[in-house]
């Protein structure tokens, strides 16, 4: 991986994680990903893995029993 690509990919990860970047930086990333196919694909792989992990968000709800236990505990704490 070229140095230029490496630097831009690092910024692209910030972008992926929703970290605040300047308009100039966002522009720079967009342009690079449009022009550089390997970086575009590499970014795509990381994006997909992040989305895979994010799938776990919805599928573990706090069990009802635990919810009432916590409520009771707090009630008793005063």
């Amino acid at each position: 991986v070229k140095d230029h690509c490496r630097q831009l990919l690092q910024k692209a990860y910030l972008f992926l994680d929703g970290e605040i970047l300047s308009e100039t930086e966002r522009h720079e990333i967009r342009i690079h990903l449009e022009e550089c196919a390997p970086c575009y694909e590499r970014y795509g792989v990381d994006e997909q893995v992040k989305m895979l992990v994010a799938r776990l968000k919805g599928n573990c709800r706090c069990p009802d029993e635990l919810r009432s236990k916590v409520a009771r505990m707090i009630e008793e704490a005063g």
């Binding site: 994680d17 792989v45 992990v53 776990l56 599928n59 706090c62 635990l66 707090i74």
Partner: protein, 206 residues
């Protein structure tokens, strides 16, 4: 935590009910990935909520309650639950740094598809993902979960884990590499992808 008589005002109590209790799903999901088993996760959540309730008069309204609760939970986990648990073998950082999922996907079977990553990653089920996350060394695991499952910013994660921002970024980077390596191995074990001949020889101890 020293026992302290709770003397929350009625409005604080109500605010705790209204603001903290709805975060139970997030906290439980986080606790489950920290402790990696439901029984400890339940204990950790109860412990966290009790600590938080007792300290709630020190929570500054208007600041991020979810981050505050996760900071309490992370500390509770590190101080109490971690000691009970055996940590997975440390991933050698060199091995992790070298891993490149993009390369592996590109190399493994050029005839498969123009976008092999879609096929490989789509074939993994949620239990594969939890298994891969649970196998991560703790510091990587926490960083990845806080970022990708709980959507905290780098600054919030730094606050929660009590480390500098640069450390958060490096843990995230290495954690994701290790995660990708594990997911790749799982895909290979499932026969979703075929490892290269070299890989197979290595795995067979040749």
């Amino acid at each position: 935590v020293a026992e302290r008589a709770v003397e929350l005002s009625a409005s604080d109590k109500q605010r705790f009910q209204e603001d903290a209790m709805p975060l139970l799903d997030s906290l439980y999901a986080g606790a489950l990935r920290m402790t990696r088993n439901p029984a400890d996760a339940e204990d950790l959540v109860q412990d966290t909520l009790l600590r938080a309730y007792r300290a709630f008069d020190r929570f500054e309204p208007g600041t991020n309650l979810k981050a505050w609760l996760f900071r309490i939970m992370t500390n509770a986990y590190i101080n109490t639950y971690r000691k009970k648990q055996r940590e997975p073998l440390k991933v050698s950082s060199e091995e992790v740094e070298d891993f490149d999922l993009y390369r592996e996907l590109k190399d493994h079977d050029p005839s498969l598809s123009e976008t092999p990553e879609t096929i490989v990653l789509d074939s993994l089920v949620d239990s594969d993902i939890t298994e891969a996350i649970d196998a991560l060394p703790e510091q990587f695991r926490l960083a990845v979960v806080l970022s990708d499952v709980e959507d905290f910013s780098y600054a919030e994660i730094a606050e929660i884990m009590d480390v500098p921002l640069g450390t958060v970024m490096s843990r995230l980077h290495r954690g994701r590499k290790a995660l990708q390596k594990r997911l790749w191995e799982l895909a290979r074990d499932r026969g979703i992808v075929k490892g290269s001949a070299d890989d197979r020889a290595r795995r067979n101890g040749a």
